[in-house]
Amino acid sequence: MIAYLIRRILYAVPILIGVNLLTFALFFVVNTPDDMARMQLGIKRVTPEAISAWKQQRGYDKPLMFNAAGSGINKVSDTIFWQKSVSMFSFDFGYSDDGRSISREIVTRMTPSLAIALPTFLIGLFVYVSFALLMTLFRGTALDIVGVALCVLLMSISGLFYIIGGQFLVSKLWHLVPISGYANGAASFKFVVLPIVIGVIGGIGSSSRWYRTIFLEEIGKDYVRTARAKGLSELRVLFTHVLKNAMIPILTGVVVVIPLLFMGSLLTESFFGIPGLGSYTIDAINAQDFSVVRAMVFLGSVLYIAGLILTDISYTVADPRVRLQ
């Protein structure tokens, strides 16, 4: 198990290098730093001095991959690639355009993101699985058909409308909670409750339908027939046998997103003014702060890979037949 994990972590290294090379190519090779400077300073009427000042301020005035003027190790390390991309492996993300340390921002903004994302995830999982089990229990009846139709309808509505509609009804019409904002500690409850509820409702359609498909696939198998033949009640079959056996496909889809919860949700956070990582990313995109976007891309892929490894571990917990070697 330990050996397997070490191998998996080592296997992540070339993937992260690939991500790093890809983002480097995207940010520095597709467009030269000169182009970016011209874009940020305004296309017209920009002096060469302004461009070089912009580049120097951000450390973009170095050669891309290889510094012929340097000596020894500096030939490689005194370049944009080394300073901007390779340094990310030590989680040194540098500074954003307004001069703040990106790493520090990430650490402070993780809490608000988690305050929304974690409850949404947990409550959502519970609601979706329960709803799907309910539909499976009443499969073929009117309840099931209405449930599936409802799911298709709900998943056909853009997530934007859930947020806009929820804000309008709950905050503007009924004045139950503030429209947007955030507070630290227990005071944050009234700010996070609406985003969580909307997040859960927004996912009902596609998730419940997906779980229902998984359960229906399991319910056609032989062990279910055996369990019924033994005289077990349908509820018991569903909860102890089907649910347990459906764990593997469920875990495959669910565990991988757990680390990504740290990143928060772009839409929710920007609509509700939550100072989390999602709104940080969206602000960076709108301000065209390339270093922040680059840092978030790297962080996102690290967390995704962590999620994949966690998924493998979760298999051994859920199913004792699975051995990691």
Binding site: G18, L22, N31, S156, S158, S270
Partner: protein, 452 residues
């Protein structure tokens, strides 16, 4: 000629897609084993009604994809100059909708603006009143007769649509002797749709059926124009990356070894970046390229269009990995089949095995993922445009409509009609796509045992 045809990049891709679909239909028609699953789709009333709605949207999108520029010949000049405004055939068809610009917001069917303005009356006094609209209900002398006029026009237009729809249905049913239940449902849908279209069309010539937006554009026009953007995002995205996904996926599964390793590495790297972030990064960079090369584009439409095509490419880049993985897995299974081994032992070349034996047998996976992806992409467009990495702000799309309307949320009383229009049109499009996709999946999925 007093106009110049303009073929934008996305138009070219749309026509390519139409050609490909026509070719596929012609190919499938003569082959019964390929026709069978489609006949299953045709037996589902829900699927056929959805298909009808989608076809209606597709017609609007296609008409909106034939672009041209009108000539404006200045006086005392022989030289021909074309207007910088790129129009489409659809724009010409709905000319009144496009040209009836009001000053600012007005409610659906309103004949006055939404907010009071200072006016000078006959005596020269300044009064605060709702000014009449320039076009909406301009034919009415007496404002109080509006409701009756709306009902009258709706009935008249609806009746016209009803007659036209019925005529169409009767003509279409004439050669079809076997009348199934599905056919009846389809006919009813045609008649209902025709009635609605007739009523709306008759009303839209003199009213703003869905109101006007901040700069006075007709919201119905914006909604109809958004359809093309949504359809292009939904279809072209998969079209441009489909060859890549199919080729790489099948090659990885069939050749295994280092080919498999390299291809797996590529798609693992791509899929390990959260897609919104990858899209955001790529769009930001594309924006820099477009902004620093203004000389590439002769019109604003060409610029917005190139951004749309790039967006499709970028979206495709992040979404092909799923299909690629599926195809690799399926090919791994197929290559162990006896008929493939037989072909190998006969000395059939790898390329021929791939094209004759493997690809036809994974076609159902490709088709299912194509139709299943469509609705997700239409929804993604709205979200991305909201985040600021979607289509060009000057391009009319559901995302830009929602984005503009969202800013008016805080207004009292609320401007609700833009959001409502975008909501209804998007829901109709995505719901139809989802229902159709489900029917296609059910018909093509070999795992479902139908006892046939």
């Amino acid at each position: 000629m007093n106009f110049m045809p303009v073929i934008l990049w996305s138009d070219a891709l749309v026509f390519l897609l139409v050609a490909a679909v026509s070719l596929a239909i012609w190919y499938v028609r003569g082959r019964e084993h390929l026709l069978l699953p489609w006949q299953r789709v045709a037996r589902s009333p829900v699927a056929m009604v959805s298909l009808l709605v989608l076809a209606l949207f597709a017609v609007i999108g296609l008409l909106d994809s034939v672009h041209f520029r009108v000539a404006i010949t200045p006086q005392n000049s022989t030289e021909r100059i074309y207007s910088p405004e790129v129009l489409s055939v659809f724009d010409k068809l709905v000319e009144p909708l496009r040209m009836h610009h009001e000053k600012t917001y007005s409610q659906p069917f309103a004949i006055t603006l939404f907010a009071k303005e200072s006016q000078t009356d006959v005596q020269g006094n300044v009064v605060r009143a709702y000014p009449r609209l320039q076009y909406g209900g301009a034919h009415l002398q007496d404002a109080s007769r509006r409701d009756g006029d709306v009902v009258k026009r709706a009935l008249l237009g609806g009746l016209g649509g009803l007659l036209a729809g019925t005529l169409l249905v009767v003509i279409a049913s004439f050669p079809n002797r076997r009348k199934s239940g599905v056919w009846l449902v389809v006919c009813m849908t045609v008649v209902i749709l025709a009635t609605c279209i007739g009523a709306i069309a008759h009303l839209a010539t003199v009213y703003h059926v869905l109101g006007t937006d901040k700069v006075g554009q007709d919201v119905l026009y914006l909604s109809l124009k958004s359809i093309r953007t949504g359809l292009i995002i939904g279809t072209v995205t998969t079209l441009v990356t489909l060859p890549l996904a199919v080729f790489l996926g099948v090659a990885a599964g069939y050749f295994r070894g280092w080919v498999d390793d390299v291809i797996q590495y590529i798609y693992t790297v791509l899929s390990s970046i959260p897609s919104v972030l990858l899209i955001a990064a790529a769009v930001l960079m594309m924006q820099v390229t477009i902004d620093t090369h203004p000389q590439w584009f002769d019109t604003a439409a060409a610029r917005a269009d190139l951004r749309l095509v790039f967006l499709c490419l970028i979206l495709g880049m992040t979404s092909w990995t799923g299909l690629c993985r599926l195809l690799r897995g399926e090919t791994l299974k197929l290559r162990e089949m006896e008929y493939i081994q037989a072909a190998q032992s006969f000395g059939v070349s790898s390329m021929r095995i791939l094209s004759r034996h493997i690809i036809p047998n994974v076609m159902h996976i490709i088709l299912i993922s194509l139709v299943m992806d469509f609705s997700g992409l239409v929804l993604a467009e709205a979200v991305l445009s909201y985040v600021g990495v979607g289509v060009d702000p000057s391009m009319i799309s559901f995302g830009t409509m929602i984005n503009a309307a969202r800013l008016e949320m805080g207004r009292e009383p609320m401007v609700w009609w833009s959001l409502a229009a975008a909501f209804c049109f998007m829901l109709l499009l995505v719901l139809a796509a989802n229902l159709f996709a489900d029917a296609v999946r059910d018909a093509f999925d070999p795992r479902l045992n139908r006892g046939e």
